[in-house]
């Protein structure tokens, strides 16, 4: 059995167009991978939800729906976790400078809740930069205990 330092296994690796159809597709892909790994219904929903929000951000904020920009979606597993990486070709952003959606004055904002929910639904979430300077989000969820 692989230990935690073993090379993760890539389960899915795809470049997607910057459209809402890609958002739907990503959610479906994530859900079917999660199901195959034995996550329960609620966890599958959480993983699908987080991936949808990350890909929406890549399409809308990162790639600005641009026909000449792609979203890179990678799902991998190690012995401990499922990891999903979403990269875009935008200009990147600083999470710390975004408005806090839980602050009293922002409660009635129309937007700004995606990352909050991603963090609530996944175990580990890290933002970084893609090779081209766009956003890279890495999200992990611990695998279900073997039955």
């Amino acid at each position: 059995m692989p230990n935690s330092e073993s090379t993760p296994e890539i389960l899915h690796d795809q470049h997607l167009e910057s459209t809402l159809a890609s958002v739907d597709a990503s959610e479906e892909i994530a859900k079917s991978v999660a199901a195959r790994l034995g996550f329960d219904e609620e966890e599958i929903y959480h993983i699908g939800y987080a991936v949808r929000e990350a890909v929406v951000n890549a399409v809308v904020h990162g790639n600005l729906y641009s026909a000449n920009k792609r979203v890179h979606l990678v799902l991998e597993r190690s012995a401990q976790w499922l990891q999903v990486t979403v990269e875009d070709e935008g200009q990147g952003f600083e999470e710390a400078s975004q408005a806090d959606p839980l602050a009293e004055e922002n409660l009635l904002s129309q937007s700004g809740r995606g990352i909050l929910i991603i963090r609530a639904f996944m175990d580990e979430v890290t933002f970084g930069r893609s090779p081209g300077g766009g956003t890279r989000i890495i999200m992990r969820k611990s695998l279900p205990a073997a039955p």
């Binding site: 809402l20 939800y49 949808r52 929000e53 929406v56 959606p101 409660l107 809740r113 995606g114 929910i117």
Partner: protein, 113 residues
Amino acid sequence: MSLNLTTRQVGDVTVVDAAGRITLGEGSSAFRDTIKSLVNQGHKKILVNLGEVTYIDSSGIGELVSGYTTVSNAGGKLKLLNLTKRVHDLLQITKLYTVFEVFDDEAKALASF
């Protein structure tokens, strides 16, 4: 479209029965336009029945909040009915549970306006 909306009038309350998914795209736009049109047409008591809504993404949550604001600004009230556990959890996470008046009994909701 993955969102199904049905509007009915019960006394002076307009009930919007939503079913399916409220997500970025036609779903969230249809929800927004519907609330806007209702307010335009003078409806001020709006009860959104989310009982059959299986999924709301953050954009859909944003449209719930916008709808709430639009109706409030017009001097009306938008309330929620029948949250599924998933929708309830999302309102908890986003602290919106305190913003919305939420009911699980339609008669009580109607009487509250």
